[in-house]
Symmetry: C2
Subunit: 615 residues, 2 copies
């Protein structure tokens, strides 16, 4: 697949955009006209710069409001086109994107449009360029790709073909199957965009909310499958208008973009394989290593200056201390299948408190290969002699994902730490879920990363009201729910201080018993207000004895069709806190209705501790 990206996807100057596209591994770019117009570099300089970077200039875009007009305007439009064709010759670009007329067309007569496109084709021929005609979803008369293809067929000119844009097709709910009826040599260009499934006017949706493939709700695997069946072998290009990407570092965005195409290539192959009746039809040349989803969370790595507070907290919750690693400056705490590797922050770079997640996978080499093919940065850690090597990659939020062998009840590396000090009751079973704070510029990239690299599935996104704004939360899980990762987008204005966006939740067999024994060891949970218990009593008609226990122990409560959910929270350690959850009878949620109460309690607690510190 030849990969391309429109310069409008990336922030910065045209030169910065070209550099980012090249560094991220793209084969070419589309030149978005406003980027060219605003560039201080001449077309010749830009052409030379792209050549130097090894980037092809695949498309000049957009040219607007050409066809369906009266004779006077047609002459003016042909003069406009000649100026742009001259420019394309200077840039060395062969193809121009023509969007269907949204403003000046006065007729929807397809024959008239075809005749005018033929005139344009004749002009293009003199410049040795070609015109890719695209139906905009909000085109005045031409707003569907099948109409555009029909007009191109009527125009019957070798210099005139179609451009297919997945957004304009899928946003309208058009069936992409008819793509297969378009001859491959008439498909001059293909632009891809995904988008969340919003119900809003299509122009605003398109201009502000497009995302890279895999980050939205369109079935782009099927779209690509139909396209590939035509035999199209030109560039597959991304054209994403997104308010956030426009404000983000262009290289990060370009890496996210390239990952999306690599993932989509594989998706399309899967779709074709499934459509052909099985994996036999998979095109092995483009296939990513198939990985099975992770089978569990082997450990979580916490980095904090507050080592003593953390040790106390873990001990109160019943974790056993294994002591220090034999060569590294970390220690291990464990209970049931839950393990925490604890250490101080490494000074060489900013690091989230939840610094790493160890996942159990069946084939760690395949997992690593898949991740790196999906543009993830491989981690290189120094290993002590005889230590189990750490194999992993960095996620877009800076956290580290490690792959360990699956299937062992106790991983071999545990023996690199000291022997455990047992303290009796062990009610924690394993890690239930991990919430990772996402910088708002990288939220979509984070979703795609965990989805594509680990094959986790996205659950419906949620929004939770905190005292400092709405927190958007996206849960990704394995199908069996053994690995659950929630990505939280924190409002930009919230500030580091106002919200505690990261936490680790541990599954317990008996949350109330655990809360009680933790209290006996001096644990003080996050205080939940009495009003909350009045409210859940009204909502759920909970039996008084249970309600009294919940209230006494600051345990929160939820219920779904399957069962009940009991959970409580620790005070924060730095920017992380811990949660204990008990899922009864297959409850599958996260207590979403309780989250605003928890966020308010945390906000309140921090207010009070600040006031206390100031007093």
């Amino acid at each position: 697949m030849r990969t391309s990206i429109a310069t409008v996807c990336l922030s910065g100057t045209l030169d910065e955009k070209l550099l980012a596209a090249q560094e991220a591994g793209f084969d070419g770019v589309e030149i978005f006209e406003p980027d060219l117009v605003a560039s201080p570099d001449s077309p010749e300089t830009i052409r030379a710069r792209a050549a130097e970077l090894g980037l092809s200039l695949d498309l000049y875009q957009p040219f607007r409001d050409f066809e369906g007009v009266g004779p006077d305007l047609l002459d003016h439009n042909l003069r406009r086109a000649a100026a742009k064709f001259t420019l394309m010759n200077r840039l060395g670009i062969e193809t121009i994107l023509l969007c269907s007329n949204v403003a000046t067309a006065r007729s929807g007569d397809e024959q008239l449009a075809a005749t005018q496109l033929r005139r344009l084709g004749d002009l293009a021929d003199r410049f040795g360029v070609r015109v890719a005609y695209e139906a905009l979803a909000w085109g005045r008369f031409v707003d569907g790709y099948e109409t555009a293809a029909r007009i191109v067929r009527l125009a019957d000119h070798p210099r005139v073909g179609v451009c297919l844009d997945s957004f304009h097709i899928l946003s309208k709910g058009d069936n992409p199957e008819a793509i297969e009826t378009i001859p491959a040599d008439k498909i001059f260009f293909v632009q891809l965009a995904d988008a969340p499934l919003l119900s809003m006017d299509v122009l605003s949706w398109s201009r502000h909310h497009r995302v890279f493939p895999g980050e939205g709700g369109f079935d782009l695997g099927a779209f690509m499958g139909h396209l590939m069946r035509t035999g199209y072998d030109g560039p597959i290009s991304l054209e994403i208008f997104n308010d956030t990407f426009r404000q983000s570092d262009p290289l990060s965005t370009a890496i996210d973009a390239h990952r999306s195409l690599r993932w989509l290539e594989d998706e399309a192959a899967r779709w074709l394989g499934a459509a052909a009746g099985g994996r036999a039809a998979r095109m092995s040349a483009t296939a990513l290593p198939l990985v099975e989803p992770p089978t569990g969370v082997s450990y979580v790595e916490l980095r904090t200056e507050a080592m003593d507070d953390t040790r106390t907290l873990l001990q109160q919750l019943g974790f056993r201390a294994h002591g220090a690693h034999r060569t590294k400056s970390v220690e291990l705490w464990a209970q049931g299948g839950a393990r925490i590797v604890l250490g101080r922050p490494e000074s060489d770079r900013p690091q989230p408190t939840v610094a790493g997640i160890g996942l159990s996978v069946r084939d760690r080499d395949a997992a690593l290969q898949r991740a790196t093919e999906l543009s993830a940065t491989q981690l290189h850690r120094e290993e002590g002699a005889g230590d189990e090597p750490l194999v992993g990659v960095r996620a877009p939020d800076g956290s580290e994902i490690f792959f360990g062998a699956a299937g062992e009840s106790e991983p071999d590396w545990v023996s690199e730490f000291g022997d455990p000090v047992d303290q009796g009751d062990a009610r924690i079973l394993q890690v239930d879920h991990i919430n990772l704070a996402q910088p708002w510029q990288h939220f979509d990239a984070g979703v795609l990363f965990f989805h594509s690299v680990l094959d986790l599935r996205t659950q419906p996104a949620m929004e939770v009201a905190a005292p400092v704004g709405l927190v958007r939360s996206q849960v990704l899980t394995t199908a069996d729910g053994v690995v659950r990762i929630a990505l939280n987008l924190v409002p930009p204005a919230a500030g580091e201080d106002a919200i505690l966006p990261q936490h680790i939740a541990f599954a317990a067999s008996d949350a109330l018993g655990l809360a009680r024994s933790a209290r006996d060891r001096g644990f003080r949970p996050l205080h939940i207000p009495a009003n909350y218990y009045d409210d859940i009593e009204a909502r759920f008609e909970i039996e008084p004895a249970l309600l009294e226990q919940l209230k006494d122990l600051n345990v929160m409560y939820d219920r779904d069709e399957a069962g009940e959910f009991l959970h409580f929270y620790t005070a924060p350690i730095g920017t992380v806190f811990l949660e204990i959850v008990e899922r009864r009878d297959g409850y599958d949620g996260y207590g979403a209705l309780n989250a605003p109460v928890r966020l308010a309690a945390q906000y309140q607690q921090r207010r009070e501790s600040h006031t206390g510190a100031a007093a």
Copy 2:
């Protein structure tokens, strides 16, 4: 008018919200249930706190999914209601908001709903409370206020009435006229929200995009007019779900909110007066001082450390130096009717570079009174003996708006500065427009401020692509276009450094001549790339001689139905820059298509100057 505000409009804890509402001047609040549930304070404490602050607790909300259900669920719902009525008794709240059922209703039978509401009314009677039934725009069966009013009439219970919410009525395009058919004693509560006229699903629109009255596109004056004709005299309350307000300082938001109601009260009176055939019907008790729009920009006050650079620039552009003020540390530069008061930043508070705007008004006392009644903070400046007093208020972005006498060709205060040094050609006529950067949390508040205080009218909002993100721009003008203020919302991630959001544009009689004579004095304009001139040649077919001059002088070009627009830019001084514009034949725009090119050129220039500084 009794003013109220729902606690969901404001950020922070419930206690912080109450305090902000009181400080902003509200008479009461609606308690939004999640705020109560998350509060560590008991209902009795909250009641006492509100009483201490002099705030009435006007509404408890929301109660959901009550009516239209089967018998089992009805019993459960009545138990839920009893729990909330108990809570209301503890809070001392008389009225609860009942939203029309969105989830559990299984029938749209209005008689069934009425019967069930009557049961609820009987229950409410035992607690001495009452139920205000509101049709949500997305209610399952009941989604219009006329339906809700019909059901309430059928229920025929003194404890059951309606709640009217302008969003749910106007978002659906329902005519508010039928409000007049509802007896005043059956209107238990009124909630107001404005919203931009978006085309999107109404639930998302409602949950994220509501704004305060005057900040959106609804005709709330008419809505209120119809309401007032019923004789309703209960609280007028704001219920605004807005992602930005949730992240903003609660007091700033509350002040903005209170301003919106004060403005709306006046709007409604105007609407009633107009409907009654003239101003005679205006209710003088609630009327704001009527002000005519400002007749001109008398001066702009610039505060900068780069005094010498600014002086040089002004001199190059043909401004005459009047010298220093006789008592204050500022100096005056003037040309035609354009005046700049120049000084160093005052150290006691952060200050925009465009620190103040002097507007000419016919009645400065009325203008000031209107502004302060609209919650604007009056400015108090020390005056030297005999100096003309400065009368003005602070805008939400921190800039200062001063009111001066209209009608003088040269204001009296000019004589407080030294005599002008004339330097010959004076091509600048007056200030054309002023662009003010708005902190993104206060953009809507800024729009309402300039609209309500100065009676400026909003033009359609625009979005301009900058290399670091989209800049939203809202122009407000007098009807005659003599005063034009553009508010620019800068993307949060852009950083101070990346964008130059503030500028002053001067109208010139001959932009090309001015550019030429400025160049003779050493002026270097912002460099506009050659590609831009190729593009406008293709777009406009400009005659070659003019194009050559534009290019030579870095002057940009636009055209509308009326005429032509020529404009050029200075390099930045700190965070402000200047623009010279020439409007030919009544051109009425701002060269919006040129803005991205200008923003890119400024970005490029800063990049280069940073690289230069680093080298």
